[in-house]
C-alpha cells in the first residue's frame, strides 16, 4: 500500500485527538472566563491611576496589570529626558518632558498583552524602550497555550501511530509496511531529488550562467551598499532618521528573514555585494574568466574548517547588536569591516574563505538554508564518478573551481553552497540541477556536528534576544546600550555562557539520557545530539523571523521619512515627509509571532520524528525518544509564548 493511503487512514485518529484538544481548549476558556468580573457588576468604578516613570531606556513599572473593564489613567513622568508613550492596540499616546507629567485615560476593554513603547527619540537605545500592559484575564495567552497543547498532542499521537511509515509524501512503491523500517538510502533518493529543475529552462540557464548578468547584479547591489555606508556616516546620526539604519534593519533584514531565507536559503549569498570587490580583485576579471590570480592562493588551514570562528564572530556581533542596529556609524563600520575582511581574505586565500568561514551572517544563513526548498545539487552521481576532469572542483576554461570550497558531486547539504552558479558554468556534462525539493531538514540527509552546534547557538541566541526584547525585564534591555560597560559585560557573559556553552551542554545531557533509555537502539549520545539540534532549527528560525517581523512592524513608519530626507538635512523629497505609514499589525504583532513559533514547533517535531526514524528501526523506537525531545521543544515554545503573550 502506498503512503498517501495510510495518511488517509490516520485521519480518523487525528480527528479523535483534535476533539480531545478542543475539549481542553473549551475547558481552559471556561476557566479563564469564570474569573472575570460578572456582567451585572456595572456600577461605576473609581479610575485606576498608575504612575509610570520613564527613564533611558526603561519604564517603571515595565509591566502593568489591569482587569478588563477598568478605567485606567496612566500618568507619564519623564525622569531624565523627554520620553513618549504609545500603547499598541488601544491607540493611546502621550509625550512628557521632564518635570511636566502627562496622562491619558481609557477603558481597558480588550484583553491580552499590549506593548507600549517610547515615541520620542531619547538616545541610541530608544528603539528598545518598551513595556507591556496586560489586561486580565489574559485569555489570548491561555488560548494560544491550548492550541499549542492540542496541536502537539495530535501531532504526537498521529506521528507515533504512523511510526513505521513515511509521513508527508513518503516513498511510494517501496512496499514498506506499517512496522517496517525504511532504509535511509531509500529515503534519500526519494526525498533529495530536485523535482523542479530551473536549469531545464534555457532562459534561466543562460541567466544563471551568464557572468555579465552576475556582474550587473553585483554592481547594483554594491551601489546600494556604497549608498548605505556613505549615508551611515554622512547622514543623520539619529538611527530612526538615518536611511542606512532603516534600509538595513527595517527593509533588508526582514526581507532576508521572512522572504529570502525561507524561500531561497542562501540566495542572498548569491547576490551579496560584500565579497564582490575582493573576488574581482582575486580574479582580476569582471566579465570573463580570468586566467591568472591576484592572490597568494593559500589553502584555508584544516583546523579552522569547523565553524567555531564563524560562531564566535556571530556571537561578537550579537553582543554588539544593540549598538550596531541603532547607531548609524556602527552599522557603517560593521559593513566596511565585512567588505574589508572579504578583500583581505581574498588576497590571502583561495576562493570565498570570508563568506564560508568568517562572515557572521554566512553561517547563520547556511544553517537555516536547510529550511528552504531551494537547492543546488549534482544530478547523477554516476556521471560525476565517470568524469575525471572535475571542473566544478578544480576549475576549467569556463569557470573557477567551487569558490565556496564545496565538492559539488557529493554535496548533500545546502549549508555551504553559496549559489554562485560557478559549477553550472564549469560542468560540461550539464549535471547540475538547481531548483525545488524537500528542505534538507526533512530530506533524510544525515546531520553533521558543525551544523548541529551552529543550530543550537543560533537558536539559543535568538531565544535570548526574544526574551530580552519582548520579555518583562526592562532593565536587561538597558544593557544593550553602549554606555553601560558593566551591563554589557553581563550581557556578553550571558550570551556566551547560555548560547555558546549552556544550551549545547544541556542538550548534550538530554542526548546522553536518551542514549541510555532502553529501546534507543544503540544510538550514541552524539548522534542524538546532532539530530535533535537539527530538529531545533525550525523553532530557531521561527524565533528569528518573529524578531524580524517586529523590526518590520515597528520600523515601517520611518521608511517614507528617511526616503524624504535621506541625508538628515531636513529635506522633504517628493513630499514623502508628509506620508505617514502605519505600523504593521499594531496590537496583533504578538499573535503573528505566536503563529510563527507554533509553525516552528510543528516543523521541529515532524523533523525530529523523521530524522530519528531513519536511524532507528520503527519497532525499536522507544516512546521516550519521541516524548523527551518533543517535551523539550514544547517547553521551549511554551516559554516563548509566555514571553510574547503572557
Amino acid at each position: 500500500m502506498t503512503a498517501p493511503g495510510k495518511i488517509w487512514k490516520a485521519v480518523p485518529r487525528l480527528a479523535y485527538s483534535w476533539r480531545f484538544g478542543m475539549l481542553a481548549v473549551v475547558a481552559l476558556a471556561l476557566w479563564a472566563g469564570s474569573s472575570t468580573r460578572p456582567l451585572w457588576a456595572t456600577e461605576r468604578q473609581p479610575v485606576r491611576e498608575i504612575v509610570i516613570e520613564a527613564r533611558q531606556f526603561d519604564y517603571e513599572p515595565g509591566v502593568i496589570r489591569v482587569r478588563k473593564g477598568e478605567t485606567v489613567r496612566l500618568v507619564l513622568q519623564a525622569q531624565d529626558v523627554t520620553h513618549g508613550f504609545s500603547l499598541d492596540g488601544y491607540g493611546v499616546a502621550m509625550e512628557a518632558i521632564p518635570g511636566h507629567a502627562e496622562s491619558v485615560e481609557f477603558r481597558a476593554d480588550r484583553v491580552g498583552k499590549f506593548a507600549f513603547r517610547c515615541t520620542q527619540v531619547c538616545g541610541a537605545s530608544h528603539p528598545f524602550m518598551t513595556g507591556s500592559l496586560i489586561v486580565e484575564p489574559n485569555s489570548p495567552f491561555w488560548a494560544a497555550l491550548g492550541v499549542m497543547a492540542m496541536v502537539v498532542f495530535a501531532l504526537f499521537v498521529s506521528l507515533w501511530r504512523m511510526r513505521g511509515d513515511a509521513v508527508f509524501g513518503g516513498v511510494s512503491g517501496s512496499g514498506a509496511g506499517l512496522s517496517e523500517w525504511i532504509p535511509r538510502t531509500t529515503y534519500r533518493t526519494a526525498r533529495t531529488a530536485i523535482w523542479l529543475d530551473f536549469l531545464r529552462s534555457k532562459v534561466f540557464r543562460w541567466l544563471a550562467a551568464s557572468r555579465a548578468v552576475q556582474f550587473l547584479v553585483y554592481a547594483i547591489a554594491l551601489a546600494i551598499l556604497v549608498l548605505v555606508v556613505t549615508i551611515s556616516f554622512a547622514g543623520s546620526s539619529v538611527g530612526d532618521h538615518n536611511l542606512a539604519i532603516v534600509l538595513l534593519w527595517v527593509v533588508w533584514w526582514p526581507l532576508l528573514l521572512l522572504v529570502l531565507m525561507p524561500l531561497g536559503g542562501r540566495v542572498w549569498c548569491g547576490v551579496c555585494p560584500a565579497p564582490a570587490p575582493g573576488e574581482w580583485l582575486q580574479r582580476l576579471a569582471f566579465l570573463r574568466k580570468g586566467r591568472g590570480q591576484f592572490s597568494l592562493g593559500l589553502r584555508w588551514p584544516a583546523w579552522l574548517r569547523p565553524p567555531l570562528l564563524q560562531v564566535l564572530v556571530f556571537a561578537g556581533v550579537a553582543a554588539l547588536s544593540g549598538v550596531v542596529i541603532t547607531v548609524p556609524q556602527a552599522t557603517g563600520i560593521a559593513l566596511l569591516a565585512m567588505v574589508g575582511g572579504a578583500v583581505l581574505l581574498s588576497l590571502l586565500f583561495k576562493g570565498r574563505t570570508f563568506c564560508r568561514f568568517i562572515c557572521p551572517l554566512g553561517g547563520f544563513i547556511g544553517v537555516y538554508s536547510q529550511m528552504s526548498p531551494l537547492a543546488l545539487r549534482a544530478k547523477d552521481e554516476v556521471v560525476c564518478k565517470g568524469h575525471k576532469e572535475k571542473g566544478c572542483v578544480l576549475g576549467n576554461g569556463c569557470g573557477y573551481g567551487c569558490p565556496w570550497l564545496e565538492n559539488p558531486p557529493t554535496m548533500q547539504h545546502s549549508t555551504n553552497c553559496g549559489l554562485c552558479m560557478e559549477c553550472v558554468r564549469t560542468c560540461d556534462r550539464s549535471n547540475i540541477s538547481f531548483g525545488l525539493r524537500w528542505p534538507d531538514n526533512l530530506a533524510g540527509v544525515p546531520g553533521r556536528v558543525e551544523e548541529a552546534y551552529q543550530a543550537v547557538v543560533f537558536a539559543s541566541v535568538g531565544i535570548l534576544f526574544t526574551v530580552v526584547l519582548f520579555g518583562p525585564w526592562g532593565s536587561v534591555r538597558t544593557w544593550l546600550d553602549a554606555s553601560g560597560m558593566s551591563g554589557r559585560f553581563a550581557y556578553v557573559g550571558i550570551l556566551a555562557g547560555v548560547g555558546l556553552l549552556g544550551v549545547p551542554a544541556l542538550l548534550w545531557g538530554m542526548s546522553g539520557l536518551l542514549a541510555r533509555v532502553p529501546g534507543s537502539s544503540g544510538l550514541t549520545a552524539r548522534t542524538l545530539w546532532v539530530e535533535f539540534s537539527h530538529a531545533l532549527v525550525p523553532l530557531g528560525m521561527a524565533v528569528w523571523m518573529a524578531f524580524a517581523l517586529a523590526a518590520l512592524s515597528n520600523g515601517l513608519p520611518h521608511v517614507p521619512q528617511v526616503l524624504a530626507d535621506p541625508m538628515g538635512r531636513g529635506w522633504n523629497l517628493f513630499g514623502l515627509g508628509d506620508v505617514s505609514w502605519p505600523r504593521l499589525l499594531p496590537g496583533r504583532l504578538a499573535y503573528a509571532q505566536t503563529a510563527l513559533v507554533l509553525a516552528g514547533l510543528v516543523w521541529g517535531i515532524v523533523a525530529w520524528r523523521h530524522r530519528v526514524l531513519m536511524l532507528v528501526p520503527a519497532g525499536k523506537l522507544s516512546a521516550w525518544s519521541m516524548a523527551l525531545p518533543v517535551g523539550v521543544l514544547t517547553a521551549t515554545a511554551t516559554g516563548l509564548l509566555w514571553v510574547l503573550l503572557g
Binding site: A78, T82, I97, P98, A234, S236, V238, H241, F286, N572
Partner: protein, 148 residues
C-alpha cells in the same frame, strides 16, 4: 578587453563616484542659514557655542538634535522653540538691531549637565542704524523646512 575596462570604470564609478556625489551633492546650499545641532553636554553640547552675526541682518537658525529632545531659549529675542526632537528640524528667524552678547539656553532637561548647556550669539557691528531697541521677533516652532 574593452568590456573589462568598461566594467572597471563602472565599479570605480560606484565605489568612488557615488559616495563623492552623495556627500558633495547634499552639502548645505542655503547661504545665511546657520545649522545649530544640540547634543547633551556630555557629548559636546551645542555644535556652536558662539554664533557671530551682523547687526541689522536677518538671522536664520536651523535647529536639530543628535541624541535626545532639547529646547532652545533665547530670552532677549523672546524665542522659545519648545521641544527640538532628534532628527527633526526647527527654524528660527530674527533680526538683531543692537550689538551685544545674547545667551541662549537649552530649556528642556536633557542630562545631568543640562544646566551647563548654553551658548551665545554675538551681534557685531556698530549700532548707528539701530534706532529701534529691538527688531521683530519671528519664531516657528516645529516648522519643517522644505527642500530649497
Amino acid at each position: 578587453m574593452w568590456s573589462e575596462l568598461a566594467a572597471l570604470a563602472l565599479v570605480m564609478l560606484v565605489v568612488v563616484g557615488l559616495p563623492l556625489s552623495i556627500v558633495y551633492g547634499s552639502r548645505d546650499s542655503q547661504s545665511g542659514t546657520i545649522t545649530l545641532t544640540a547634543r547633551t553636554v556630555e557629548h559636546g553640547g551645542w555644535s556652536q557655542r558662539t554664533i557671530r552675526v551682523e547687526v541689522g541682518k536677518p538671522v536664520r537658525i536651523r535647529l536639530t538634535s543628535d541624541d535626545v529632545t532639547h529646547g532652545f531659549l533665547l530670552p532677549e529675542f523672546g524665542i522659545d522653540t519648545g521641544p527640538i526632537s532628534p532628527g527633526e528640524f526647527t527654524m528660527v528667524e530674527f533680526t538683531p538691531l543692537k550689538p551685544g552678547v545674547y545667551r541662549f539656553y537649552c530649556n528642556i532637561l536633557c542630562s545631568h549637565h543640562h544646566g551647563a548647556m548654553n551658548g551665545q550669539i554675538v551681534v557685531e557691528g556698530d549700532a548707528t542704524g539701530a534706532v529701534r531697541p529691538m527688531g521683530p521677533v519671528v519664531s516657528y516652532p516645529q516648522a519643517a523646512q522644505g527642500l530649497q
